[in-house]
């Protein structure tokens, strides 16, 4: 039996700021993982990644990252993606800083 497919989100870094970004269902990018499109089908994931890479002039290094559905949208599976979502643990910089300014 084939292994079950772990749902994915498409993530990359913004070309100018380097910030972690996620691909949304409308083909635009968000800085918030919860807003990302959760892709549940393996073939669809590859097609969506190709779609995202069409925007390589504005993004860097798009890839598929494991994710799971949460009450407020996609959530990370691996701790590396959790750090990418939040920012560093030694200072409230990056996304934590952006949140503090909201």
């Amino acid at each position: 039996m084939a292994r079950p497919f772990t749902p994915k989100v498409i993530t990359a870094n913004d070309l100018l700021e380097g910030d972690v970004i996620y691909f949304m269902a409308d083909n635009s990018w968000t800085r918030d993982l919860a807003q990302a499109e959760l892709i549940e089908d393996e073939a669809e994931a590859q097609l969506r990644l190709l779609e995202a890479e069409k925007q390589n002039i504005r993004i860097v290094g798009a890839y598929l990252a494991d994710a799971k559905a949460g009450p407020n949208g996609p959530e990370p599976v691996h701790f590396r993606e959790d750090f990418r979502r939040k920012g560093p643990s030694n200072y409230s910089h990056g996304k934590q800083e952006a949140e503090a300014h909201v």
Binding site: G18, R84, P88
Partner: protein, 554 residues
């Protein structure tokens, strides 16, 4: 210290202008990321987890006050108000924006600093003893040779596309503070028949396959340095493997071919190369040496120092740990700790950098050094100025008295920043430092080096730590392996793994058990952790680390 001449300044300005145009072409879409990436890496620009990172070389760890102020300016104007001093005498900025980086490089160029060859498969920043030019045990200042290597290796056409990166370390002292045995090439100045030359060590390195370098040449006359280095690089360039990234460093070339074969090949190449050198390098070296004339050290009474030492216990504790012996008995070498308990090892704020620049200018003959141990050194301070210096450092949170102690931890950026990391390093360092500060045991424990890497590449030098910690990803969870008995000095040794790793919330208690065991086992308060380990071996420490396993055996 070395001052750029018109050629250096023009070269750097042109290089920065080229990079500015490359950035513009990436942003307007003329360059793809695949085309741009090698260009940005050649100029020290990485893309990390959350942002770009700019790595600036601090050649052989030497700065003047104007350069330190420029580093502060970059932190404040284009980053988040701080910089991170690394384990290879570089400074890293963690948050630059891509289109600001050309301006940052121009600002660095104005004070004679750059980010060239801080990445890529090239000859990297040559690191040196951070006490160079000041240490009491030094034969001669190694920095003119490091500067000669910098000029020779920068943009050297033959060595821009090596099989892998190539790191050179140099020391002018018999006591190795530059970890030269863990470099691709280590240079140790030695004396033979009244002449000073180099012992050349090759094939050292940490990372996936840690190795202590082997001596390839007992004594190399000073004048033969560049032709000999070219011979080593040339043999590596031909023999080094390009089929497997993990077997591409020269340490593997030496291991697979044997030091004898490498030595023979290098000697043969050296004979050829030597003929190509017409003395220009020696003329250049003579000119470089004029920039490294030792400062005219002032004389005067050191009574003020002794009075403060006797009267103020806080000053005394700092003096006992953070001062090293200067070649002039009225002066001291000051190590400024960038390791306040609970802070990120190696991080300094713009304000702290300016304070250190001011102190260097006012009290330290305008000289600063950065150590691979991620601290800042004022290499020449008259002892009578130490009480005032200490007071100024205290105001900026820079007077932590912990050099060489358990909280003077080397830590790589780990998974808080680094795209290669498999686990975090910084919070582990912060918690260990805070824990032993709370226990008030630090000074009782004495000399102890803890070094933490967040992945197998070992930027945190964990293999050569007395207690090394390596963070790994084990089935999607952070896991930390411990090694014991490593040594980063002239008696270099790779540490031995204790056994299974520890979870994130278990690693600090595990270190605490090791320390408790050491305090019980040591013969007296003078015996260091490393000495106790060498006397008793792994077993008693294993027992302390893995009490559950012991119970099962019993």
């Amino acid at each position: 210290m070395y001052k750029y001449n018109a050629f250096d300044a023009a070269f750097l300005a042109e290089r920065n202008a080229q990079f500015r145009a490359q950035v513009e072409r990436r942003i307007d879409g003329s360059l793809t990321e695949d085309e741009f990436k090698p260009l940005r890496l050649m100029n020290g620009v990485y893309l990390q987890l959350h942002a770009y990172m700019l790595r600036v070389a601090i050649p052989y760890g030497t700065l003047n006050s104007a350069q330190m102020r420029a580093l502060a300016l970059l932190a404040e104007k284009w980053d988040k108000g701080y910089g991170h001093f690394t384990t290879r005498q570089n400074i890293q900025y963690n948050w630059p924006k891509l289109n600001d980086i050309p301006d940052m490089l121009d600002a660095l160029g104005e004070v004679g600093l750059h980010a060239i060859q801080t990445s890529g498969n090239t000859i990297r920043n040559t690191t040196a003893d951070h006490f160079a030019g000041a240490a009491a045990d030094e034969l001669t200042d190694p920095r003119p040779y490091a500067e000669l290597i910098r000029q020779w290796s920068t943009d050297h056409p033959e060595f821009q596309f090596l099989g892998r990166k190539f790191k050179i370390g140099i020391t002018g002292s018999p006591n190795d503070r530059a970890v030269v045995k863990a470099h691709d090439v280590g240079l140790r100045m030695v004396e033979q028949n009244g002449e000073i030359g180099f012992e050349v060590i090759v094939g050292g390195g940490l990372g996936r396959t840690p190795m202590v370098g082997k001596v390839i040449r007992d004594f190399l006359p000073q004048a033969d340095l560049l032709p000999y280095l070219e011979a080593v690089l040339s043999v590596y360039n031909v023999l080094g493997r390009r089929d497997n990234k993990y077997k591409a460093r020269i340490k593997i070339t030496v291991q697979e071919n044997g030091i004898e074969k490498i030595r023979d090949l290098v000697d043969a190449r050296f004979t050829e190369r030597q003929r190509e050198f017409d003395g220009t390098d020696q003329a250049l070296l003579a000119e470089i040496k004029t920039h490294f004339t030792p400062p005219a050290l002032r004389t005067g009474s050191t009574d003020a120092y002794q009075a403060a030492y006797d009267a103020d216990p806080v000053f005394r504790a700092w003096a006992d740990t953070n001062l090293a012996e200067h070649r002039d008995s009225a002066h001291a070498i000051v190590t400024v700790s960038i390791k306040a308990h609970g802070a990120t090892p190696g991080d300094a704020s713009a304000e702290q950098m300016r304070t250190m620049a001011d102190l260097a200018e006012e009290l330290g003959y305008d000289e600063l050094r950065i150590s691979h141990q991620q601290n800042v050194i004022l290499p020449h301070v008259h002892k009578s100025d130490l009480p005032a210096l200490h007071a100024r450092l205290k105001e900026q949170g820079l007077a932590t008295a912990n050099i060489g102690l358990i909280s003077d931890i080397i830590a790589c950026p780990g998974m808080d920043y680094c795209a290669l990391a498999t686990a975090r390093s910084i919070p582990v360092a912060q918690e260990i430092a805070s824990r032993f500060d709370d226990l008030k045991l630090e000074h009782d424990i004495g000399h102890l080096q803890i070094k933490i890497s967040g992945c197998i590449n070992a930027c945190g030098h964990h293999h050569v730590a007395h207690i090394g910690i390596l963070g790994l990803d084990r089935a999607g969870v952070e896991n930390y392996q411990i090694t014991l008995g490593g040594d980063a000095t002239e008696t270099a040794a790779i540490g031995t793994r204790t056994g299974p790793g520890f979870a994130y919330d278990e690693i600090v208690p595990a270190v605490e058990r090791l320390i408790e065991a050491y305090l019980t086992l040591r013969s007296d308060a003078e015996e260091t952790f490393l000495e106790t380990y060498r006397r008793l071996g792994m077993e008693p420490f294993k027992t302390a680390l893995y009490p559950e396993a012991q119970k099962k055996v019993a």
